[in-house]
């Protein structure tokens, strides 16, 4: 996973570059929570563009980060969902709760 904090926008972007399963979420979770606490962003975006595999562990991971973001007063969004990631998120209904960011393209070009 790569991350970047945009100080002026208080925006923290996580670009997930691993496969997302029960094995890998522990690392993602730990790092995301640590950085959210450290930067205290107002907006957190998870970028799924480079995710080649995700199972239900990804649903639990995002819901958990959504709750954590709420605690620190940040809004969480997801972006660049691949076809298969979208299929799984839609099945779980979490896209009714978590918005899909469309304007992140520009900012995330840094990666």
């Amino acid at each position: 996973m790569e991350s970047k904090f945009y100080e002026e926008d208080k925006l923290l972007v996580f670009k997930i570059t691993d496969e997302i399963d029960d094995c890998s979420v522990q690392k993602i979770r730990r790092r995301a929570d640590y950085e959210m606490e450290r930067y205290m962003p107002k907006r957190v975006v998870f970028d799924f563009d480079s995710v080649t595999f995700m199972d239900s562990a990804g649903i639990g991971m995002i819901i958990g980060r959504y709750k954590f973001a709420n605690i620190i007063g940040a809004k969480l969004e997801v972006s660049k969902l691949t076809q298969s990631v979208k299929k799984i998120f839609e099945m779980s209904g979490i896209l009714k709760l978590i918005p899909v960011a469309h304007d992140i393209e520009q900012d995330a070009r840094v990666f």
């Binding site: 496969e19 399963d21 029960d22 094995c23 979420v25 979770r29 595999f53 995700m54 199972d55 239900s56 562990a57 649903i59 639990g60 991971m61 819901i63 958990g64 076809q83 298969s84 799984i88 099945m91 779980s92």
Partner: protein
């Protein structure tokens, strides 16, 4: 007469979460013999990942045990049995309901069975408390373009 294509494999590994990727990639390589589309293969990988993860975190609750996969290919259908000798499921019908999980504290979402059910054509769960759980799922791989089949018949004609 055209021979029926059949194949079988067995895979056993210890219940470590780092074996989840190994299991789904191995099954995908086996299923590739049926020439699935990328999407069909992705669906099967996800279903395998769900089943194997369940064996590891629910069946064995992260204690050491053996996860077993038996895969069959028959004509254009893949049949997978994934089993553990772990704690078993008390009520399978309740366990299969969307969003039902006994481990919300581990950030599980209770969507595993729902995903297996919708990504595969059939799903069957057999479980005995104290003895373990076996899930059987199958999926038909849609045949590809017709003229490939003509070629195939010519080669296999005796």
């Amino acid at each position: 007469m055209k021979d029926i294509f059949e194949n079988e494999m067995k895979l056993e590994f210890i219940s470590k979460s780092s074996n989840e990727a190994f299991a789904r990639v191995t099954v995908a390589a086996f299923v590739a013999q049926l020439d699935p589309t990328i999407e069909e293969l992705a669906d099967i990988k996800t279903a395998v990942s769900e089943a194997v993860t369940n064996c590891i975190i629910h069946g064995y609750e992260n204690k050491q045990g053996i996860v077993k996969i038996v895969g069959h290919l028959k004509e254009n259908e893949v049949i997978l049995e994934i089993s553990d000798n772990g704690k078993g499921i008390e009520n399978v019908d309740i366990a299969k309901e969307p969003l039902y999980t006994t481990k919300p504290n581990l950030e599980r979402s209770g969507m595993g069975f729902t995903i297996m059910e919708s990504f595969m054509d059939t799903l069957d769960v057999e479980s005995i408390v104290g003895l373990g759980t076996k899930i059987t799922m199958s999926k038909r791989i849609k045949p590809k373009i017709e003229n490939e089949e003509n070629e195939f018949q010519m080669i296999t004609k005796d």
